[in-house]
Amino acid sequence: MFEMRGITKDFDAVKALKGASLSVRPGEIRSLLGANGSGKSTLVKVLAGLVKPDGGEVFIDGKPVRIRTSYDSKQLGIATAFQDLSLIPTMTVIDNIKLNKETVGRFGTIDVKKDRRDVEELLKLFRVRCDLDAYAQTLMPSTQSMLEVAKAVYAKPRLLLLDEVTATLHHDEIEGLFELLRKLRDEGTAIVYVTHRMKEVAKLCDSATIMRNGETVAELARDELNDLDGIVYHMTGKVPDKAKACGAQAAAAEGEALLEVSGLKYSPKVRDLSLTAYKGEILGIGGLDGQGQSEFIRLLLGEFQPEAGAIRYRGKEVRFRRPAEAVENGIGFISGERNREAIFPLRTIAENLFVGRTATGGLFKFIGNRRVNGFAREAVEKYNIKVGELEDPASSLSGGNQQKLIVARWIAVMPELLLLDDPTKGVDIASRREIHQILRQCAQKGMTVVVSSSDNDELMDLADRIYVFYEGRVQALLSCEDKTQERLVAEMMGFAEKEERANG
């Protein structure tokens, strides 16, 4: 019996877990559900020993345990198959599976023959066919995922943690895997299965724990697993809405297309994307995490180069080789991943605001402090950004104010096409509303806004039309009457998958 109670964890300013709990019994397959950012991956990492919790306790069979390192986790009989894989790319299949479990033969050297036999048997069990001596990085993603699970199972754990392992698997492989998992469960293993695919939950799991915003909000038994509305309610905290009236957002119907994308491909996340964005509209991009939205935005920006497909911007086909080129052509980019992609923490607030102006223009032109500070002062007033002094480093601002700064930075430059990737992640409600208001004003002035978001409320509020991405393709286009929360969530989960696909 494995139990976690009251687990808390802060990463710098972000509260990933706020008193989460999870319990699973031997002989049970429990699924762990939650929207993006709910904390489910972090909770799994705590059990795996990769993250040190700030508070809370873990109990095994009623006795409290401390998991200080991943080694401790292994000693306690916990094995994990990670979403982002824990294989060593430049080691062979055999070496990977046997890593840290190699059989030692005479003279302290590894018994290579026995290792090979063990791995052969294991792979037969998993019905995986691959060259045992191939380097892990040369294998197909689906094979790698299977190996990741095989590696975890090989440790003969008491608790098996699987984090989104079916993302790259084919239908048959999933069936085979489920058979194996059911067998393990019957033998007494406890299994925690993290996924976003509701169909799998209904097919495989005995129970479910649902997380939202770092807390555990519900525990469901087997018979409750088919109630999609109920699950959506727990995951979002709201009852699904009736559609809002379509209003005067008819820009799409008669506007000119600013951006036309066709057949875009970028392995492995983007398979075949086509969409259109019209001048002056706010276009939303929805979907679960990792369905190709970020990659799509970056393909438009020129950070990635597409393998196939075309992008037409301002009526001409373009291929930006780097973001600098896109910015010169009137494109702006606002990222929700502030620390990695937007904020310069050691630089002053004024400098951070001036970035839009810094990026374009003559390289050796004089830029005086007065100009920078004047611009900054205006922006701070106009967008209501709460700052101490303009000379303070940008890291001193709260998340919401940082995000407002980033928005201000770009609005001041008035790009033709503004790309936003999860812009209000971790931002407080008030700042979020202000940012939405600013974006709406810009769209009215003629700016085209493309916003990708993992927050459905935000999409419903802001966007005129919403494209839903699923596994690298456009799953659906919602506008006017279609644009409802229920429809959105359904498309995101792939629930409205065509029957042919489900039957393989």
């Binding site: 780097r322 310069f344 050796f364 032109k365 402090n369």
Partner: protein, 320 residues
Amino acid sequence: MGSGLRIRRFVKYNRPGMALVIALFLLLITVLINPKSLNINTFGSILVQTMLLSFAAAGQTMVVISGGVDLSVGSVMSMAAVITTGIMQGQGGRFAQVILATVAMGAAIGLLNGVCAVRVGLPPIVITLAVSYVVTRLQYVFTGGMPTGVAAALFKKTVQYRIFGLIPAATMYAVVIWALAFFLIHRSRFGKQLYLTGNNESAARLNGINTRKIRVLTFVLSGVFSAVAGVLGAGYMGMSQCQLFDNYAYNSLVAVIVGGSLFVGGVGSYFGSITGSLVMIVLSNGLTVLDISQPVRNLVLGLVMVILLTLYNRAKPIRQ
């Protein structure tokens, strides 16, 4: 604000100012230990040497702010010195040729460094070190191990002469070079992009800055500034030798970091590098006055850097 808080703020946040305080403090100690060193000649020489180091540190500052390191500064300086005396041969009127030749050389070496470090992807420390070895070899090849010639008399005077025995005539060079460096780093768009690139390269790139171009440019400018420093160094020494200014590579780096630039980039100021240079020269002078041998100097220099790195530059652990 209470004066105690003010002082603590100064110590923590005003690195250049702190460096100045440390330099004066070290100077005081040196004078106390050896009162004979309290004379105009010593001060004058400290001033000139600080200026020379600060010229070399100008390029190094830019490279460090962008997140790199340039260890070829010393060899470029030495090469420039050799070229200077080689062309001048004690004759006046050849200054223009000297500048042309050395700046071209510095820019070329800088371009090589930049392209290899940025486009090929080798770490700057390895590239600049390897290039510095090649440049050093070239010096020996061109001069057969024994450089000929001396700096022109008038030129020497402009570097060595001191007004009232204290204020160096070299100040006129300093004014130009310091102003140029200050403009480039603190008042130009290039400088603004430089700081952003150094602080968060991916954010800079995604927000429209051509980070590759910036980083290559920093190496080119470093080569140019080092070359100019080498020319003036030749004027100061009067003659040149192979590998004469090699230690300027490491010294300029320490000066820049003492002056408040972070090794990871994104933070720094040229004023800090100037005061950092002052600290290095005063320290070096003090060690000479105290008759500290060369090996202990090396030890001290190495330790200073390791301590600085421990204080300001540790990486994050795997487990969070």
